[in-house]
Structure formats: structure tokens, C-alpha cells
């Protein structure tokens, strides 16, 4: 296992009873400049942002029509580690896609998945969170419980691409991650190579959506 996704203790955003838990402190390393620059209006307010949001919605409707786009306070976005708890950041709004994924299309409740656009979107990738208790020692997790969806050591050009990757791409990568997770739960072995190059373009172009199913969450 690589260091970048070594399992580590992290505060879960929800208790076992489903109660929302806010971290006591902010994300210190991100705080200083973002809180001065986070536009309270959100990235989607400008001409480009409006256009980009439509493209994001089109992609999600095409692949994950039951996912819901929710607008919320950036304070909730803080859970994903992408905003600072400054007054300005708290006043800001954030957008997230929320829905459930069933990695093998079974009839279980599935996994509640949230994809949050950070203030730096689209230059900075959205943050994916899986709001379900995962087994202790789950591999391939980053800080704050984010699934490790692509191999950072492959370089920034081999994962998220602001010119081609939409939230739908990230949800599909998450579905693949969850499928691997369930295999790991059952067998103790994470399937596949240590890292599988995930070609986002291939994801977007593929119509093969049979690997997972999804339910909406409103």
C-alpha cells in the first residue's frame, strides 16, 4: 500500500446515530488565502460558472439521474475539508450532489455519497465523501475519509481534469471504489492492481453503466 492512501484515524462526519458532527477546528493548511478569496456568491454565479453548472447537471442527469443537487452552507462543506470556518466562508454557499450508490446493484440501502464542489472548482477537483461507516482499516482512504479515486503519484494529469471531468466522472470512480471495497470486505483483498489508471475520458464516453446502480437522495 502506498503512503498516500494509508489508513488513518479521521473524524467521521456522522455519528452512528446519524448526527452531524462538525470538526472542532478548521482545516488549518487551507485557511489563510481561501478565506480571503472565497466568493460568497459561489463559483457558479458568473457567466462561466452558470454554463459549467449546466454541463455538470447534464452529465449527472445522463448517468446518475437520481442524485440530487443540494445547495447548502459552506459550513457543511467544511466536513469535506475544502472550506475554512471564517465568517466569510460560513456565509458562502456550496453545492453538492447527494445520492446512493449500490456497487453491485443489490437491494441493500447502498452507500450515501456526497460530491462537493469546493470554492476552487473547477481548477480544484470536487471532494467525494462516503457517508457510511466503513470497516476499520479500510485501505485506499485519504484524509477525512475521502476515497482514494486515482493515483496521485501518476501525476495531476492522470486523475481529475478540469476540461473533461465532471461530478458524474467522480461518482463513477466512487462506484468502482465501492465495488472494490465490498470485495475487500468479503475477501480481505483489494481487487486489481495497486492502482488502476482510470481514464476519465473513457468513463465519460462509455455507455456501460451496469456496474452500479444508484438511488437519489433529496
Amino acid at each position: 500500500m502506498n503512503d498516500h492512501c494509508a489508513p488513518r484515524a479521521f473524524p467521521r462526519p456522522f455519528t452512528d446515530e446519524g448526527e452531524l458532527v462538525l470538526p472542532r477546528r478548521g482545516i488549518g493548511t487551507i485557511r489563510s488565502s481561501r478565506e480571503r478569496t472565497t466568493p460568497a456568491a459561489g463559483w457558479w454565479a458568473g457567466e462561466y460558472g452558470k454554463w459549467r453548472l449546466v454541463r455538470e447537471q447534464d452529465a449527472m442527469r445522463a448517468y446518475f439521474p437520481r442524485f440530487a443537487l443540494v445547495r447548502h452552507s459552506a459550513q457543511v462543506q467544511l466536513l469535506a475539508g475544502v472550506a475554512a470556518p471564517s465568517r466569510r466562508a460560513r456565509a458562502a454557499q456550496a453545492l453538492s450532489w447527494v445520492g446512493r450508490l449500490h456497487p453491485f446493484g443489490n437491494d441493500r440501502d447502498g452507500y450515501l455519497v456526497q460530491v462537493t464542489y469546493g470554492a476552487g472548482f473547477p481548477d480544484v477537483p470536487p471532494v467525494v465523501m462516503i457517508h457510511e461507516p466503513l470497516k476499520p482499516g479500510t485501505p485506499h482512504l485519504l484524509d477525512w475519509g475521502m476515497p482514494c479515486l486515482y493515483q496521485p503519484s501518476d501525476g495531476p494529469r492522470h486523475g481529475y481534469d478540469p476540461g473533461r471531468t465532471t461530478a458524474a466522472t467522480l461518482v463513477r470512480w466512487t462506484a468502482l471504489w465501492l465495488a472494490a471495497y465490498e470485495v475487500w470486505c468479503a475477501t480481505g483483498a483489494w481487487p486489481g492492481a495497486e492502482h488502476v489508471p482510470l481514464d476519465d475520458a473513457a468513463w465519460e464516453e462509455s455507455d456501460d453503466d451496469d456496474e452500479c446502480s444508484e438511488d437519489g437522495q433529496s
Binding site: T29, I30, S32, S33, R34, R36, T37, P39, E47, Y48, W51, R52, R55, G120, P122, D123, V124, D154, G155, P156, R157, H158, D161, P162, G163, R164, T165, T166, A201
Partner: protein, 263 residues
Amino acid sequence: MTADRFSRVDPIVDRAVLGRLSVLIVGVGSGGSTVAVELARVGVGGLVLCDPDRLELGNVARHECDDRYVGALKVDAVADLISHRNPKARVETLRTRFEDLGPGLEEIVAAVDLVAVCADREEARHRVGRHCVAADTPAVFGGVYAAAAGGEVIRADPCGACYACVTAVLKHELPLDPPGAGDYGVAAQGDALDGAAGLGLDVRVIALLHAKVCLDVLLGRPGPTATVFACEPLPGIVERRWGSLDLRIRQQAECLVCGGPSR
């Protein structure tokens, strides 16, 4: 015999034209400082330098500024060098990260004739590239690969492929890690400023190529979209030392950066 300081430049370039043009240089690290000074040397009249960092002793082996400037802000140090190369150049310094400019970044990008992007992190490069698309301002991106064994210069013209279009192609065509967290320009927030190992002369080779492409853009000369230059053999890409690879890349269909409302 005395001569004007530009007497050996004037026969080659139209300095009257260059004197009216201005360039924003994002990051004045080892590569960015060379780009800035070289553009001043050929007579570019306006230079806007953006970098929040101070020169450290560890920078001196590769940076244009020597140990006399240690402790000074890099933008101030480079501005001082420029004042001795081209005293008539108008130099503005932005002692901040470009992310911190907020809406001011858009205004500055729209006001200049070219943006030379010497930032190391891909996120930062995409950010500047996107603002350049919105402002119809050309941009030239430079960076060095690991150990400065080579580097790349990417030219994003307003009517052509944007930076995201180019990198989408490069990631399939070139099995190389893109320029990383060296100190070619300036690391974005959260990056260590240690800088990767690499010889200053290798960095400077790429930076000179970067400056030359900037000059081409300013003078309206055509050129390839991306150039990969090998200071050492780059297996599978440029096998020969001192070899290069030129790529002409078209705007990608349905690009989510440049396919938007600004075009």
C-alpha cells in the same frame, strides 16, 4: 564607441511594438525570473510580476538573483534586475499569490497582452489558463520535469486549444509526469518550497525556450502548441539528448474550460 543598450536587439525585433506590450508573469522562481529578465532584455515595455515568496539561499543556485538578494521578495529582486537591463520597462509587483488577487486577477489578465505562467502546480496553471480563456489573453506555460531532465512549453492562443485541451492530449500522448513542485515559478499554497533537485542550467534552458515562445506570441509569430525539450533523454518521447518534440494540438471538442460562453 558607444551604442544604445538595445543596438544589437533592434535589428532583430521591433522594439517599438514590444515597448507597448505588457506581460504578466505568474511566479518568478528560477524559471520565472529568467523569463522576466529575458523579456525585459528584448524590450518588452510592461512587466507585472506576481509572487509572494522571498529569495532564500537555497534558491540562489538556480535563480537569476544572487545572494545579495537573499531575504528580499522575489518580485522586488527581479524588478531590480530588470531595472538594470531595461530601465524604461514599467514593472509592477504583486507581492501575493495570484489566488489571493481574487477578482483582481481577472482584471489584470484582461489588461495584459500575454500571461507567462511559471507556476508549478497544475491546479494553479489551470486556474490562470481559465482566466486567460475568459479574457481572450494568450498564455504560455513553462515547466520542468523531474530533475530538470527536460521540460515543456505550452502555448495557449485565444483562438486555439486552451491549457486544459493541451493537457488532455498530453496525458495520453506523453507518458511523463507534468512539471511538479520544483521552484520554476511559485508553489501554490500548501506546497513545500523545497524545490526538486535539478541543475540551474537545465532549468534555464527550458526558461529560455519559454521566453522565446512568449516573444513569438507577442510578435504574432506562429508556432507549435506544445514543445517538449530534452536536456537528458526522455525515454519513449525524445530519445536524443538536446532533442525536442513539437506538437500541434487543436481545441478539444466539448472542452469544459474553453468550450464555454466566452468562445
